[in-house]
């Protein structure tokens, strides 16, 4: 997918003016946010589980080489195949080769952010294979020819009337006069349209929420059941997952599962959690004949040795974006690449480069709400700040910003000079602003005064007034 992260500001401005999008985003605070809070409150162990989840992931990352090899051995023991892909391109080619081996015409897909990351759909289409998204949200955005705007609710930005429009346009074999006003009618139609596609597909591709080293299983978590139909019905099941998805044992996966749905949707548990281990056994009446896992690196192995390693604990629950005031202002598409919200603001510079993604770690107030809900206790603001430092070191931030900061720091590091110069400025501003108490505009304050008045200083600084008071002790004057 082509990144538009450089145009973040323009994207954001367009998103803020999009009334439909704003209506959709407003629902997050009463939906996801409230539901998560309720789910957490219902489980007294929730905070302790977060600590434990962080520790499990840290332990796994510390031994990632061992657990990946253990996982691979178990997959092979169960009759499956593991493919290691260093890059997106390699992953795409591995998948294409598997599809071609059975002369695949159509491929059904469960929701997978890694498939988005490697740009799988476009690639399959270019090679004459039709990918069919089966998650309802993914199906909707595939028909609309756009990327997901949220990692667990990919079509959160789409209104029901827009879904109806997309269905009317795509499902031309149905009665054009049919009524699609209600969400239930839309769901029923999607269900009916996809049913035969599951059965006809040659290959089913899913992501994986976890890979389990103990058993060689890939795990998917869904509410719709689409992932299960995708991986059960075709001849071949391919699970595509990044390296850090591995966990040691069923118990460890369970510990993380107790956090996942509660953090994501506020459910105690998702409807379907499925552990897939190898292909169909000799006596099994159904299931795929081949089972493949594609392990994607795409820079993660190197990342493990950096300060940003904590981001590899992410379990893709989406809580950070559900709780992010910037995300809920601009939605996911404004971020311009696969992963939106706070996690995207850390992952995107990691995966496509600090310069390309410079805006994302900057577009945060560091309000800290993301970290306060992250089930893996990823210090997201700290990691965003890390990328701000990288950009500063590499002189990627705008010259005016750097110059302004340098000037400010020059004074801030010289208290006497600072007191004298700021005193001068506020005495002028104090006189100018005394009557109204605020300014509608001033030179160099457009960023502020474009939308708000600037409260005026009172003429004398606290320090000046304090020093003037007799009987008060001051130091260092």
């Amino acid at each position: 997918m082509k990144a538009t992260t450089r145009e973040f500001k323009d994207n954001a401005r367009a998103a803020l003016a999009d009334v439909g999008l704003q209506t959709a985003l407003e629902k997050m605070e009463t939906g996801f946010v409230v539901n998560r809070a309720n789910a957490a409150a219902k489980l007294p162990e929730f905070e302790a589980l977060r600590d434990q989840g962080r520790d499990i992931k840290n332990h796994t990352l510390e031994n990632l080489d061992f657990y990946l090899e253990a996982f691979e051995a178990k997959v092979q023991e169960a009759g499956g195949h593991v493919h290691w892909a260093a890059t997106s391109e390699e992953a795409r080619n591995i998948i294409l080769d598997i599809c071609r081996s059975v002369d695949a015409k159509t491929v059904t897909k469960g929701k997978s952010m890694i498939a988005e990351e490697i740009g799988l759909n476009d690639f399959l289409e270019e090679n004459g294979i039709a990918p069919i998204e089966t998650d309802l949200g993914e199906y909707i955005i595939q028909l609309r020819n756009e990327p997901p705007s949220h990692i667990i609710a990919p079509a959160i930005h789409v209104s029901k009337s827009e879904v109806a429009d997309a269905f009317h346009e795509a499902h031309t074999e149905l009665d054009p006069g049919r009524n699609l006003d209600e969400p239930q009618a839309l769901l029923d139609e999607a269900r009916a349209m996809l049913r035969q596609k599951y059965i006809d597909a040659d290959v089913g591709i899913t992501g994986a929420n976890y890979l389990i080293a103990e058993t060689g299983s890939s795990v998917i978590v869904t509410n719709e059941g689409n992932g299960d139909l995708t991986q059960t019905l075709p001849k071949i099941h391919i699970a595509v997952a990044s390296l850090e998805k591995v966990v040691p044992t069923l118990e460890d996966a369970t510990a993380l599962l107790r956090l996942l749905a509660r953090s994501a949707t506020g459910q105690e548990f998702s409807s379907y959690t499925t552990f897939s281990t190898g292909p169909r056994r000799s006596q099994d009446p159904d299931g795929p004949e081949q089972y493949h896992v594609v392990l994607l690196d795409n820079g993660r192995a190197n990342l493990l040795g950096t300060e940003v390693r904590d981001v590899m604990r992410c379990i893709r629950c989406g809580a950070c974006m559900n709780h992010c005031p910037v995300y809920s202002s601009v939605g996911g598409h404004a971020y311009g690449w696969v992963y939106p919200g706070p996690i995207g603001s850390v992952l995107t510079p990691t995966l496509i480069g600090v310069e390309e993604a410079r805006h994302l770690p900057n577009a945060s107030t560091f309000c800290g709400r993301c970290e306060s809900v992250c089930p893996m206790r990823i210090p997201l603001p700290k990691l965003m700040r890390h990328y701000r430092e990288k950009a500063f070191e590499e002189k990627l931030s705008p010259v005016t910003e750097r110059a302004g900061l340098g000037l400010w720091a020059f004074f801030a590091r010289r208290p006497s000079l600072y007191r004298w110069s700021t005193g001068l400025i506020i005495s002028v501003l104090g006189v100018l602003g005394r009557r109204r108490g605020r300014f509608r505009s001033l030179p160099f304050t457009k960023g502020w005064t474009q939308y708000r008045d600037l409260p005026a200083p009172r003429g004398q600084s606290f320090q000046q007034q304090w020093a003037a008071r007799s009987g008060r002790r001051t130091l260092g004057t």
Binding site: A78, A153, A155, T249, L250, R281
Partner: protein
């Protein structure tokens, strides 16, 4: 030419500051795989079996699973028939070829038209057995095998599961222990918590997205 596998593992070990082989560094993870230690288990499951059963029923109801409690397996055919009648469904049911189901005397409800085997996508109602049930979240554990086709859990619009009260455990971990005791990991292990659902259209929760619209448990109180 080094393979991507070797290259990736090499980068990982480099990032982790490990010697290339580093075998001895793996005592702890190796033991973890063997011993699979349990972590924190919610206190809500620490109760006697009877109250665990009540917790299961309560949690199942909370996710829109319906539960019909019967005294013995003899009442199962009647309960299935009642479910079909209640929802105005036909008499055809697709059943898992499972001994625990076939040993039930289905002649008690002769109107039922029972066929056995996996689903090809045209079945309205399936009847399967469960391997275990987890009280913690009202979750069923079903797994694939010769007697339990996975397609029955997902393709039909109505999924009926026959569960014995003695199969209810407290936490997921209790079910893992039973699964390990039963032999090697089955191809598919399905944790099922309520019917299929989606919130993908304007965050409105609707049932029956791609999997079953209804999940119905017939709980045989054999305890």
């Amino acid at each position: 030419m080094t393979s991507s596998r070797d290259a990736i593992l090499g980068r990982l070990r480099n990032s982790l500051g490990r010697d290339i082989d580093g075998e001895d560094a793996h005592g702890e993870p190796s033991a973890r795989l063997d011993k699979h230690p349990r972590g924190i288990i919610p206190a809500r499951v620490n109760r006697d079996r009877g109250r665990q059963k009540e917790l299961f029923v309560e949690m199942a109801a909370a996710v829109a699973t319906t539960v019909d409690r019967v005294e013995t397996a003899d009442f199962v055919p009647g309960a299935v028939g009642d479910f079909l009648a209640r929802h105005n469904l036909g008499a055809d049911i697709r059943m898992a070829p499972d001994d625990r189901l076939s040993e039930i005397d289905w002649s008690k409800r002769p109107t039922l038209a029972i066929t056995s085997g996996p689903s090809a996508g045209n079945d309205e109602v399936s009847v399967t057995a469960a391997f275990a049930a987890i009280a913690e979240t009202g979750t069923l554990l079903l797994h694939s095998g010769p007697s339990s086709p996975t397609t029955l859990n997902f393709l039909p619009e109505n999924h009926i599961v026959v569960l014995r009260a003695s199969q209810i455990v407290g936490a997921y971990e209790d079910a893992w222990d039973q699964l390990r005791a039963a032999g090697k990991m089955p191809r598919a292990v399905n944790l099922i918590t309520g019917p299929s659902r989606t919130g993908d259209i304007e965050q409105t929760i609707m049932l029956g997205a791609h999997g079953p619209r209804r999940l119905h448990i017939i709980l045989v109180e054999d305890d």
